[in-house]
Each structure stands twice: as C-alpha cells, then as structure tokens.
Symmetry: D2
C-alpha cells in the first residue's frame, strides 16, 4: 500500500498542478469507506461552532479543495438553471411584501421628459439613443432563495445564528450580522433527492411529511450517496406548477406544504453532513408540523440558528429530475445587498 499511497500522492499532486483537483483520489474511495474529514463537521453532531463572531456557518467548510472537487464532477458541461422567473404575480409566502416591477425610464419617457441633456440634445444624440431601466419594489424572500443565517430568530431575546441579538444587531435597514453579503459564493457537490419520483408521483400531495425513511429510500432507489459538504436538494414536484411566473397560487399553495420534518433535517446534517439543504417549495419544511413541536417552523430553527446551515427555497428541479441528474456541481451566488436576510430571485445552477 505504501507504493500505491505514493503513486496516489504523486498523482494527486500532479493533477493539482495540471487540473487542480483530485478526481482520482476521490474516485478511489469505495462507498463503504468512511467519509474523508470535512472541516467543521462531526458525525452525529453536525456543524461548527466556527467561533465568536462567525457569520458564515457551515459554508465555512468550503475550501479550495472542496471547490475543485465539486467542479471536477463536470463531465458534459451541461448547465441546469435552477431559478424560477419571478414577477409581481408570483406566489410568495404571505409574510413578505407584495412587489412590483416598473419601467422607471423608457425611451419614450426619456425623450418626452427631456430631463437628461445628453439624450435630449439632438446635437449630442443624433442616433436618438435612450434607455430602459426598471424600479423594483421587492421582498428579499421571493423567487428562488437562499435563506441567510439571520432570517429566523428565536427566544425572548430574538437571537439568530451564533447568538446575534436583535437589540444589538437589528436595525431599520435590515440586519447587521449575517446579511446576504456574508454568504460566500457557493460551489459544492450537489445531490438531488427526488422524493416525488421515489413515491412514483408527479408531485407530493399537500402536507406530505418527508421522513428520514423517505430520504433513505430515495437515495437507495437513485443509487445516490450523500457526502459531507453536499448541497442536498429535495424534490416535491411543486414547481411543475410554476409556469412562466408562478401565478397559479392555488396549485402552488396546495403542494407547497410538502416538506421534510425535523428528524429528516437532523439526519441530513448530523448523519450525512449536508452543508446546504434546499427544495422546490417556499419553505423546505413540512407544514404545519405536529402540535407538540416547539414552533411553527422547527426545521428553519434547527438549520439556520442551531446548525448554521443555509436553506435553499424554490429551486427548480424539474429538468434535473427529468434527466435523472442526481449528482452535479451546484453553484449559487446570492445578490450582494447589505441588510438583506436572503438571496432572492436567484439563479443557482447545477452543472454536469
């Protein structure tokens, strides 16, 4: 084994120069072998802690090596767009504000108003150029989202991840710790667990509770192995009703309540090491949950506050499901707006 070790080591070194990642090393590990150590994760316990003042949570586990590994999964160069098109008519959770997308400036208006001299002056503008721009009134919790670690608070002191408290870090212009600017660009191995397919339905029924057993059965059926550091995306099928803009509120609302229960969330994080958990619904979790639970959204509390695991919402998984694309490189960058509690109207991608 010493020789092999040496060769592997050399090859790894070599490819890190030549290609930048360790495909061969990873491929050599059998499915039954222990997962390689992942920064900050302890099996049975989950992620962190990452230190006083940390605003990043489980995504701290991304390293150049994990990023290279994730990118190394790409074989075909095929990109799947996981974002849904958002507009003012799109379904949203009712606790967020309505929106509008408005033509702020348009060429006719620019010319009529005549308020911008370089455009209004025929000598400066014989080509009659003008511009469009839009003004948006929008929530930071619409469309395809990544919930930031400050989205949910708990307790009489209204604290969020890592003990940040409203009295210290709240404000009029959004949150001042764990806002969306603190979410790093996300590049990870991604896995789709198509629970709807496992259940042999197009879409899970209303209020369907996705359990640990469902997830295990799905992974087994797909022959998919979860690895620590994965982004895990769970398909209910709800977004087959999104259409061009999510205006079929009735259909979406109906299925949007399917999701994982708390035990499933714990299994994903503590046993499998998920670094990001997402789905194709507005809230990932099963709702409404059992009466005895501590709150109306226990999965959010667990993932965001306790584990520092970001949540992906309204990820469009239909095309991945159709092509049985269960493993891929997941890439998502949230917008960079100070104070915002989530990335919104995003366009994450899966690359194979």
């Amino acid at each position: 084994m010493r020789v092999l070790g040496c060769v592997v080591g050399v090859a790894a070194l070599a490819s890190s120069f030549a290609l930048g990642w360790t495909l061969s090393g990873r491929a050599a590990r059998g499915e039954g072998e222990p997962s390689p150590a992942v920064k900050g994760w302890t099996k049975g316990k989950g992620w962190g802690p990452w230190g006083k003042g940390d605003e990043v949570g489980a995504l701290n586990a991304m390293t150049p090596e994990t990023i290279r590994t994730a990118l190394g999964m790409v074989r075909q160069g095929k990109v799947y767009d996981l974002g849904v098109p958002y507009d003012a008519e799109s379904f949203r959770w009712p606790g967020h504000n309505a929106g509008a997308i408005m033509t702020f400036r348009g060429p006719e208006g620019v010319k009529r108003q005549g308020d911008f001299a370089p455009a209004a002056d025929p000598k400066q503008n014989p080509a009659k150029l003008a511009w469009h721009s839009c003004a948006l009134f929008i929530s930071d919790n619409v469309g395809t989202q990544i919930d930031g670690l400050g989205h949910i608070t708990a307790g009489a002191d209204d604290h969020w991840y890592n003990g940040f408290k409203e009295a210290n870090w709240g404000g009029n212009f959004g949150i001042r710790k764990c806002d969306a600017t603190t979410i790093p660009p996300i590049v990870t191995r991604g896995v789709l667990l198509d629970v709807a397919a496992m259940r042999q339905v197009d879409v899970l029924p209303s209020h369907y509770r996705i359990t640990v057993e469902d997830l295990k059965a799905t992974a087994a059926k797909q022959k998919t192995t979860l690895r620590p550091g994965d982004t895990v995306l769970i398909r209910t099928g709800t977004l087959r009703y999104w259409g061009k803009n999510g205006s079929n509120h009735d259909k979406l609302r109906q299925h949007d309540s399917a999701g994982i229960d708390l035990a499933a969330a714990k299994w994903l994080v503590e046993q499998q090491g998920a670094i990001l958990v997402g789905s194709d619904t507005s809230g990932l979790e099963w709702g409404p949950g059992p009466k005895e639970q501590a709150t109306f959204i226990p999965v959010h509390r667990y993932l965001l506050i306790e584990q520092g695991v970001h949540i992906g919402e309204f990820h469009f998984l239909e095309e991945l499901a159709r092509e049985r694309a269960y493993e891929f490189c997941y890439v998502c960058m949230t917008n960079k707006i100070r104070g915002t509690v989530a990335g919104f109207a995003l366009r994450p991608i899966a690359i194979r």
Copy 2:
C-alpha cells in the same frame, strides 16, 4: 523531476480523456495560430446574427465544450468575489432611481403586531420564533451589473438588440424581449486587462480614454492572450474607492468616467471575439466622448444593440489585480426577474 513531469503529462492526458475536455489541445496551440472556430463569431465582423427572435446574442456561443474548457482552467479552487456590496447610499448613475433597504418584518414587530397567528400563539410557538425580511425599493441598474440587450435603445423607433421595438415590446412592467430572464448562466474563460497597472497608476485619471493601444500594451505586459469567447474585464482602479458601500460619491464619480472608446470596443469584439466586456466602472465606456460621435454612449450602442454583447459594470477587480490573476473561469448568474433590463447587485466570481 523529469519523472514527475512525465507523470504530470500522463495525468493530464488521462484526464482529458476522462473528463472530456481539451486542455492539452488548447495549450498546444501557439499564439500565432488561428483561433479555433467559435460558434457565431467572424473575425473582423464580430457576433451573429443569431436569427429572428433571438434574445441572447453573443452568449449563444457558450456551449458545453466552452463551459468545460472554462471550468477546466481552475487550478487552485480559489474563488474571487467580483461583486460590490450595495446599499441605499451606494453611488449610482443619476438616471436610475434611488433605493432603500428596509426591515419589513423584524421579530419585535412580528410579536407586537401579532398578525401572524402561528407566531403570535404561545401554544404554537413556545420557542418564540419570529423572522426578519426586508422590503427593497431598488433599481435594476445598481451595484455590480450585467446590462441586458434591451437596456439601450436607438432611433426614432426606439429599437434595441435584434430589432425589438418599443411599440411592440415595451410595457409598463419592464421590457418583454431580452429581459434579464433571457440571460443564460454565464460560464466562460475570463481575462483581466489591468490598464491601470499598465499605466503604473493605482487608478486611471478622470475621463481617461482607454484605446486599442492601451489594451494591446496591457495584454502584452501581462503576457495575456485573448481568445474568442472570453469575458474581458478592464480595470481602471475606480472601485478601490468603493469601500463598504460605495458612499464616497465624489471619488467614484471622478474616476468613473475612465473607460474604453468605441474603437477599443470594436477591437475587443471584432478582432478578439470578446463575448462579454466589463469593467470596474458604472458604464464601461469613456465619457464624455468626442463631439463628433453619434451619441453620448456609443460603446453601449455598439455592444448591446449592434453586437449583442452584454456589458459588465462595477465588477470588483482589485483582488484579482493584486494577485495578478489575469486568467480565470468567470461565472455569473443574473437574478431572474421578468421585465428587468439588467442583472443588478450581482456577485460574479472568478475562479482559479
């Protein structure tokens, strides 16, 4: 070391088979040789046309192969965040609307209002969960941007890329052709041309005109070869004054007028095959241009309307420059909001 070199060569060859892309082939091509054919590009002429009804423009040239090639440039797994943090105080071009980021719901307010029963009812919510969400009033032309192909219009008929006219495709809710939802996820080879460094300054002076000669001199100094299909990012140094939120309007405005002239834009597209041209200013182009030109923003007209080449703005290039990271994989996904004319408050990344 010879052995190591040999092993490296073999590993690279192996991975070119295993992974399906042509690193070695590309590396073998000498600088003097003709560029490989790139879909839709003709040297001396530029991009397209892509057909009646096309809304994508030059980005149509991205293929699984180009994407694999771009991802294959990654060696270290190091990610550079090219987005600037935006807030209501950030510098913007005055033709766009002012903005606000507002705490829409916060835990204290949620509890005081008591309007959401599952949170207000102590029996359902003993954990006292609540949430933050923000409402945003924002322009689609702020922060780090990708201008869409409908941003700029020309002529008495106010047409944009591919002949789409305001009378047909304008509207109250933004544009109905070439909106931001039509911009595909962008994964290309990226190149930084650090003109400021070539000029041996921290930042180019106000109204500095970047010419073809400047770009050639920069590429030569950097030993950087442009290739058809590249995203080309041109550094003026302006964003060294962005700070945490771009609130130093005076400094930013001063340098923001440095940029490329029309001939430089043409050279980049027609001679070099740039698929996306960006910079670290709000408008990429030199301003105000010469009196004899056809309009106040000839580069926008040329790139967006005539060539179907998207424009990148306010890309943060300081870290790349500091590390002399001149070649990388560029990845950017715009938000997916119907009607919007640009991707805004983005977070493109460069990966090496």
Copy 3:
C-alpha cells in the same frame, strides 16, 4: 314683490359685508325658478370649454362667491370625515399596484444603527429622543380618491382632457398636464343622493345600475334640490363593509360594481350642473356596462375627458346617510404630488 326684491338685495349686500355670503338671497329662490348663472355651465350641454391649455375643468367654476355660499351652509359646525382608512390590505381596483406601509425609522432602529449623530451622541441627546417615519409604496389610486383629468385616456392618440396627448405630455414620472397639483382646493355645496335608502336597502346589490330615474326618485324622496356647481355624492352603501381597513375584499368587490350609468352621469352634469360627481365605490360607475357601449368605463370617459368633471371615489357616506345629512359644505384638498393622476388616501369633509 318689488319691495321684497329690494330688501333681499340689501340684505344680501349687507350680509356679504358682515358674513361674506349670500344665504338669504339663495334661500329666497324658489325651486321652480331658473338656476342662477354659473360660470362656464350651459344647461343641456354641461361645462366648458375653458380655453386652450386649461387643466382644471369644471372646478374653474368655483369662485369666491360660490365658496362663500358653500361655507355659509354651515349651521352646526359638525364635520363628517368622508375618508376611509387605507393600509396595505385595503381593497383596490386590480389595475393599480399593491402597497406597503413600512416603519422606515423607529426609535430602536435609530439607536441601534447609530447613523444620525445628534441622536446617537449622548451629550447631544440626553433625553434619548428618536423618531418614527414610514416609507410607503403606494398607488395614487387607492383609498378615498379624486380622479384627476388625466387619469383616463381615449383614442389612438391617447389623449385626455382638453386634448393633451401622451406623445406630448406623458412621461416616466406621471403625467405632465392635469396632474394632481392642478386640482384646486375644492369648496362647494355638497349633496348626498342616498340611492340605497331610496331603494330601502342597506346596500345596493352587485352590478346595480343607477339610472336617471333612480337619481330623480332619490332627490324627490329626500326633498333635495341639486344646484349647478354642486358636488354630488351617490351612495350605494358599499362602504358599510370597509371596516377598519377595507380588508373584506369579497364583500367590497361584490357591491363595488353598483353605480351610475352614462345617462345618469349626463343628467347630473348637463341638466343639474354637477361640478364633481362621487360615490362610495372604487369607480362610481355601473359595471360592466351594456355590450353596445363604446368602452368599459364610459362614465369616466364622459366626465373626465369630455366634461372636465373630476370624480370622487370611495367616499365614506355612511354617517351622512345615518343622519340624513343631504346638504352640506364639501371640502377636499388633494395631496400635491407632481405627476400623480389622482388624489389618494384623502379625507374630504362634509360640514353642516
């Protein structure tokens, strides 16, 4: 009669010195006598024209004398608030944008952010002062409204009152002729026509068509005489369902379709000289009208475009109806926001 006439004349003169209006003179006119001449009104024809460039319409007929007369109707000093409280949940016509009222600054946020030095510095602010202010995203067509003369357009040239055309006077920031700043403060005699009471119902049924005969029967039952220059308010009873914020959309939508037909509008203006016509619904007019009509809102076209008569909407008439207060002084001042096409969230008053 000659003596009486003389005395009336003297008394009128006298009271115009002493009190400023002509109560006795007006009271002496019998119901069968011709209406006194009203500036700009011709029986059988209606209002205007008021000249090229006029943006005011029928409200030009208000004069110091008519204002004194209207104020002179006050006997008790009792003020009726005709405005409905608006918030983000209020019913509105679906063609206008959703809204939000947001705490922009609040004392906790001001203190936490610490961004305003005079408040943040304990030396300057030992009293710990702070402030509330709200940001609103709102339509100019919500709550209690006065439609301006540019609200509705007609024809291929999209013209509004007095021939102002979109191509000349439209713009990105609202309209540039007949915006709400051109609506003068309104002080007129006001009359309530309680059609619901005449029909002996609490509220008119859905789609109820109020005809000329209904209006005549109502006036006769109430013993109310209309006079040229009157503001006429027509009660359907719809706003009995407004409650604290108009959130009962189903009930409001149901009755909101009751209203006057085109003939009734013409009778009010051409035969009776109404200077402003309003009701307790979102659109005043009966809807949907007969198939043979020229458009979906013929009353709006007639009143606003052809007659230059402003329209009052969502006027709360329940208290007036309860007290059978059929004649009063009507006072309404619209907000003064450039570009806006209507006064919104208003609080007109009736004074008796």
Copy 4:
C-alpha cells in the same frame, strides 16, 4: 346710509342667532380682556391632559362652536393654497427616505401589455380607452406636513405622546397609536406671524433663532391678536426658494435652520393657547440649538410629546405674506393612511 347701516347691524345680529356663532360677541371683546374659556387649555400650563388612551391631543379642543367661529371669519371667499408641490427631487430632511413617482400604468403600456381584457379587446373598447396610474415610493415626512403625535419618541422606553411606548405600540407597519388616521380634520382660526417681514428681510438668515420677543414684536407690528385655539403659522421666508419642486437644496437647507426656540414654543402654547404651530421650514424649530439643551429637537419634544400639539411644516406662506393676510380660517385634512406618523404632501388652505 344710516338705514343701510341699521340693516347691516340687524342682519348681523340675526345671523348670529340663526347660525349660532358669536362674531359680534367676539369682536366686542377688547384686547385686554381675558380669553374665553377654551376646552382643555389652562393659561400658564397649556393643553390637556385628555385622558388615558387619548391620541388626539390639543386638537380635542376643536368643537362645533370653534369650527363655526373659524369658518365665520371668511369674508372674501378667497382660498390660499399652503401646500408645496412635491416630487422626487424635492428637498427633505435627510432622516427620511428618498422617493420616486413612477408611471405605473400608461395608455401605451396598457395597450402593449394587453393584460387587462376589457381594454385589450377591441370589441369591448372601440374607443380605445386606457388609463394612467402612478406608483409612489414616498416618505410620510415630505412636502407640506402635519407631524402626528407619534412622530417623536423620548426616553429609554421610547415613549411618545400620552405614554404610548414602542414595546407596546410600535410595529413593522408604522405606529399603532396616534397614527395619521387619528388626526381629525383641522378647522381653526389661523394666524400668520411674519417674522421675516418684522425683521424687514425677505428671508431670515441661516440658523436664525426666533424668540418670544420676535413673536411679540411681529404680532404688535401686524396688530394681530393670538387667541387660544389658533393655528399659528410662523414665516421665515424659506419657501420663497421652493420654486416648482423644491429642488434648490442648497438654498433651502441654508434657511431651513431658522425657527423658534423652546421658550417661544412654550409662550405660544402656554400663554397664547396655540392648538397647532407651524412654519415654512422642514422642522419649525431653530437648529442646532444651544449645547445645554436636553436634545437636538427640544421644540418637537415639547409640542408633540408634552403638549400634544401637532406641528405644521413646509407651509407655503408667501402669498399670505404678500397680501398681509394675517388672520384666516385654516383648514387641513391629512391623508388617512394607517401607521403613518405624519400627514405629507398636504395642501392646507387658508380662507379669508
């Protein structure tokens, strides 16, 4: 003429019986005599208290009688519009949000979008009707304003008028006690104190401190007597620089700091019984005040929190001043929007 005089006297007497107000009685009271009792006011102490739960403050003192008296001041029927036209470029206090007035729907857009069937269908709409409506993003503290009693808070408990505390009555959607819907329609005697004219300047200089002596000298020069229950409007001359939309920020900011000091506010309320105090600046009060004061806006604290006296801001007094119209009937109705802390973009009127 003796007969005429007699008739005038009789008519006045008659109307005082008939209409119920006390013009003759009031006119007969000499300047040295005690003011008639005004509900809720104690000389030397000021207004209130009005009882636990009161949200109205000094405006409770308006009664049918005071309203009749105020309206009875009208002689000419001349209306002065005291509102300034507001738009997105208007000067505002920097602690409030920027704004935008946007064409939300316009006839071209309505037709192009084709999303509203009754307008889009030529059969239903041969007249080609369409509409304009605007969307506004706006602060409740812009343009001509009436500050509500919840605008300013004090103390560690962030309380406002009548002890309402943030912890109980704050919220995400504005304030829940003393919002603008609680401000009754205001109809009072109004008095202009033209301090600029007294000082023989067009406009008071920057930071001019208006003292009790200034107010006394102004009243004496004008021969104006203040009476309990008056709205007192104090002219600095600042709004002579407002122009069409208040875009001359430099000039406005310069003079906007002229205003009354705390002693002057106390004298107006405790000695003169002002029910509402306003001016032609954004904040009424002198700023910045002396270093030894308890806060940066002591007049706001005193009037709003301690006395329950609403504040009028940015009242346009130029025309009143030009005509030396020092006494009038003041009428103002704030918009009726739940949660808002002030009436904004108002159009109060003075009637003589």
